[in-house]
């Protein structure tokens, strides 16, 4: 019985971190889908989101909802700014230049954060009453429940956006054939900016949810979270939206199961082992499109 409850408990933990990975992985996948760029600055957008949440709650004693909204707005603006300033001028350049620029932007954000906020962690006050909800023998932490619900709502909203609106269809059209989309009157620049905005907004939500679980902000917090979300995106098939969601949950649950086996120090290793295996066995991921070179 106790083994069973432990596993359930770890699964809940897995769902909690998995939904955060999924939100972040969506940003990676959407941006990759539209401009074939692995946006390694994406993790650092989350870091900025966490600092915004910290500032709002610790400095201005704002309500968590307001902090969430501020983080989402801040991340969205930052994401679009990064795209306009760093990636747009390189639209015609080889992909490797874009990739290196993304790494540069990542270091830039980390160092600016260190300059402004210092290298020490800023602790975010607990903002959710963490009395677990008892379901028989299983205690579900409130943070886990809120995280999964908020992430779930965000993903449903994203799905509606992508499937049922003109902007979403434009995104899918541009990611399939940017040239043809433009000849049908779609403004590519607006569509790319919009994709960055949506991906970064999801990162903003992810950052606040992450702070529920690990309530502190540090300048480098985004890099490991970003890398794991990147693994999730690759596992699901980079460029694929449902793939990113599935990949995120899979990585979260894999981590939790490794921990529940008493091997928590192997957690990160297992995630990267998954990356290696995926790249060896099925580089297009679970739901990715088969790679076809355009002629």
């Amino acid at each position: 019985m106790s083994v069973f409850t432990t596993i359930i408990k770890q699964l809940i933990n897995g769902l909690q971190s998995g939904s955060i990975y999924a939100l972040v992985a969506l940003g990676y996948s959407m941006v990759y889908g539209i401009i074939m760029l692995l946006n390694f600055a994406h993790g650092d957008v989350i870091m900025v989101g966490a600092y915004i949440a910290w500032m709002m709650m610790a400095r201005f004693a704002a309500n968590p909802i307001i902090a969430l909204i501020a983080a989402v707005i801040g991340c969205t603006v930052l994401g679009v700014l990064i795209e306009k300033a760093a990636y747009k001028p390189l639209r015609q350049s080889p992909r490797i230049s874009l990739l290196i620029t993304a790494i540069g932007v990542s270091y830039f954000l980390e160092n600016v954060a260190q300059l402004v906020f210092g290298a020490n962690a800023h602790v975010i006050p607990t903002f959710i009453d963490d009395t677990p909800i008892q379901l028989g023998q299983i205690a579900i932490p409130t943070t886990a429940l809120i995280t999964v619900i908020v992430a779930g709502i965000s993903m449903v909203a994203l799905n509606v956006l992508v499937k049922k609106t003109r902007m979403g269809k434009a995104m899918r059209a541009v990611s399939e054939d940017a040239g043809a989309a433009q000849l049908m009157g779609i403004n590519i620049n607006n569509t790319i900016s919009f994709t960055f905005a949506v991906g970064s907004a999801l990162a903003g939500i992810g950052s606040v949810l992450y702070c529920c679980a690990y309530p502190k902000a540090t300048p480098t917090m985004g890099s490991m979270l970003g890398l794991k979300a990147f693994v999730a995106a690759v596992l699901g098939g980079i460029g694929s939206i449902p793939g990113a969601m599935a990949g995120g949950f899979a990585i979260g649950i894999a981590e939790a199961l490794v921990s529940s086996a008493g091997l928590s120090e192997w957690k990160d290793g297992v995630v990267f082992a998954i990356l290696i295996v995926v790249l060896l066995v099925k580089p297009t991921g679970l739901m990715g499109r088969p790679m076809t070179e355009k002629v």
């Binding site: 909203a157 509606v160 956006l161 049922k164 609106t165 003109r166 902007m167 269809k169 434009a170 899918r172 059209a173 399939e176 054939d177 040239g179 043809a180 989309a181 433009q182 000849l183 049908m184 009157g185 779609i186 403004n187 590519i188 919009f194 499109r289």
Partner: protein, 275 residues
């Protein structure tokens, strides 16, 4: 922008379109690729309801012309006027919004999207609701989406595709994919439709049907059509004016009858006799 310079007329604008601004006008456009001029001295004006054809041997620069007209390539020389407005400096999507739509020689549908979604992409600019109104599901969103979907149904109905709405575009049979490309272009509400080898890969009966379709588009949508085609029967059958291109230059212009009997054209296609 709209220069009122009288240029010598090289045009074949049909009588009914005379006296109106041509939907498309090219004034001595040319483009060089690495010192090699791919198109040069291309001058033409298309009437608002004209069906015009561009023919010429392979590599004569026909598709290059389409890429110039849609600003995919920037001309090295000359100017292009859409509806009397110079398109210099416009992006491809702006040119589309000004009224130029096209199809592709090698079909470029959004294969992962459904038939309906492909046409909705064409209608993108006819809707203007915001992200907020779509997320909050405000009446504006519903109204515009509903109107767009009705328009999609109308357009698909004209081309006998209304029963394929939910299918993935990539899974359609070849002929239907060609038709869907035309529907998608028409959805952008163009003044001129550029068709790049619309009959490629079609059998004679499909080609005959396509000719009917092209005429129907002109008559129902009141737009001009410019087509590149190798199928002489189609070109001679529906075009009012034909321009013959060889090595990037227009070598002849005229009605189908004039072109058919033009010795320069015959030479370009068949080679010179006695040599």
């Amino acid at each position: 922008m709209n220069k009122l310079v009288k240029e010598p007329s090289y045009n074949l604008i049909p009588e009914r379109d005379l006296g109106k601004t041509p939907i498309l006008e090219c004034r001595r456009i040319g483009i060089d690729f690495g010192g090699l001029s791919a198109v040069d001295e291309f001058t033409i004006a298309i009437g608002r309801t004209e069906i015009c054809g561009i023919i010429g041997p392979n590599g004569a620069g026909k598709t290059t012309i389409f890429n110039l007209l849609t600003n995919v390539y920037r001309p090295t020389r000359g100017s292009i006027l859409v509806n009397g407005v110079d398109t210099l400096g416009m992006t491809t999507d702006e040119v589309n919004r000004r009224g130029v739509a096209r199809t592709f020689q090698n079909i470029r549908l959004f294969k992962d999207l459904t038939v309906e979604e492909n046409v909705l992409i064409g209608l993108h600019n006819s809707m203007n609701y915001s992200v907020a109104s779509s997320m909050l599901r405000l009446p504006k969103y519903w109204k515009q989406e509903k109107e767009a979907r009705e328009r999609v149904r109308e357009l698909l109905h004209i081309f006998h595709m209304e029963n394929m709405t939910a299918q993935q575009a990539g899974s359609l049979p070849y002929g239907a994919q060609r038709r869907l490309e035309i529907v998608r272009s028409l959805a952008t509400n163009p003044g001129i439709l550029l068709l790049d080898e619309p009959a490629a890969g079609m059998n004679p009966s499909e080609t005959a049907e396509l000719m009917e379709t092209i005429r129907k588009i002109r008559d129902e949508f009141h737009i001009a059509i410019m087509l590149i085609e190798h199928d002489m029967k189609l070109v001679m059958g529906i075009c009012e004016g034909i321009a013959v291109l060889n090595y990037g230059r227009i070598i002849a212009k005229g009605t189908p009858d004039e072109i058919r009997n033009n010795p320069v054209v015959i030479e370009a296609y068949l080679g010179k006799e006695d040599e």
